[in-house]
């Protein structure tokens, strides 16, 4: 049943959001810390476990993959509801702070990727 997949996905998101709020409360901030990430991990773990202890049927999967396919349309709607007018008219301090932060962060991606790759190759050697 397709609805099983939708319900499973929804359950993961609710679980993750509650867990994220609890983490936030533990460290003393009223924010959701990684709730979506926790929900994603839960879904990945359930998917990985299926086939061993239980089976997620193809129909059930459709309830999840449909929403995965709706991801881009939802992101387009998200773009259309951003406060772009305020962003562009927020003054030079905001524009410069935002632009330079993004440019430097982009530049750091290859630097950090290399660090991770070295670590990877070390681990790979260790395995052999």
């Amino acid at each position: 049943m397709i609805v099983y997949g939708v319900a499973l996905l929804s359950g993961c998101l609710l679980l993750g959001t509650i867990a994220g709020k609890l983490v936030g409360e533990m460290i003393g901030i009223s924010a959701n810390v990684g709730g979506v990430g926790i929900a994603m991990l839960a879904l990945i773990l359930i998917h990985n476990a299926s086939g061993r202890t239980f089976e997620l049927s193809a129909e059930t999967s459709k309830g999840i993959t449909f929403w995965s396919a709706m991801y881009i349309p939802i992101v387009i709607a998200m773009a259309a509801k951003q406060n772009v007018f305020a962003a562009i008219n927020s003054g030079w301090v905001s524009v410069l702070a935002g632009v330079i932060a993004v440019l430097l962060s982009f530049a750091m991606v290859p630097v950090l990727s290399r660090i991770g790759k070295n670590r990877l190759s070390l681990e790979d050697n260790g395995d052999q």
């Binding site: 990430g37 709607a77 259309a80 301090v93 702070a97 632009v99 991606v109 990727s113």
Partner: protein, 253 residues
């Protein structure tokens, strides 16, 4: 007739949003195919078109929710809101490779902390350059360069003026829009084409909306990896900015 249409639209706002996004997507993929021969990705065009419409709507209505402030398109605010966004992001994790996430976990965490500190430092330096000298304003603008949520959370905690909090939100908004638009262009230059670099990218950028839009326009298969780290960023920012990072700024000024 007119009142019937607007009544139906108002009562079926989410359904109208599905039509709106469907038409926008179709136009964008058509333009991608005909005008750029498919070189420029349809979803990238759709996201940019969405942002342009949001700008026009914001200028016309004076509201803060883009096209969702036009009453006929109120449903776009629901479809594009945090609830559906997070729901769809989690769905993309179905089929993601757990080994990739474990493998990049350490550098992923590192990228989140570095991302927060880097953006905060940039924002703080820009604030200084514009003549802000009190540690509260400098920290609040710095926090805004992290995300538009970290800014006001920090500003409220530190008792910053509402003008400075507004600037911090502006910096975060600029960041999120620029990440959405810029990612497909810089992706080839920064090696953003595998799960490992996507996790680092998500951790460094941190804006969930920006990363979600940027990766959608670059390669949707990378979404779960980038989103995984990005969703921890705002929490880490809200933790570090009003505490350790503020204390450092306060000690330096």
């Amino acid at each position: 007739m007119e009142s019937i249409v607007s009544d139906v639209f108002a009562k079926n706002s989410l359904i109208v949003a599905f039509v709106f996004v469907g038409v926008l997507t179709w136009l964008s993929y058509y333009a991608s195919d005909k005008l750029s021969n498919g070189r420029f990705h349809g979803s990238a065009i759709a996201i940019i078109l969405g942002l342009v419409l949001a700008y026009v709507a914001g200028a016309a209505t004076g509201g803060s929710k883009g096209v969702a402030d036009i009453s006929l398109l109120a449903g776009v605010g629901v479809l594009g809101g945090a609830m559906f966004r997070d729901f769809a992001i989690v769905a993309t994790a179905y089929g993601a490779d757990l080994r990739e996430i474990k493998r990049s976990g350490f550098v992923g965490v590192l990228s989140i902390i570095l991302g927060v500190v880097l953006s905060f430092a940039v924002g703080a330096i820009v604030a200084l350059a514009f003549g802000y000298t009190d540690s509260v304003s400098v920290s609040t603008i710095g926090a805004g360069a992290a995300t538009y949520i970290v800014g006001p959370v920090t500003g409220t905690a530190l008792n910053a003026s509402s003008e400075v909090i507004a600037l911090s939100v502006g910096a975060g908004l600029i960041k999120s829009v620029l990440v959405m638009v810029g990612t497909p262009f810089v992706a080839p230059l920064i090696g953003l084409n595998n799960p490992h670099s996507a996790m680092i990218y998500g951790g460094l950028m941190g804006t969930t909306s920006g990363v979600a839009g940027g990766l959608a326009a670059t390669d949707p298969r990378l979404v779960p990896y980038g989103a995984m780290t990005a969703t921890f960023y705002t929490g880490v920012g809200c933790l570090l900015a009003p505490s350790i990072l503020f204390l450092i700024v306060d000690a330096l000024l």
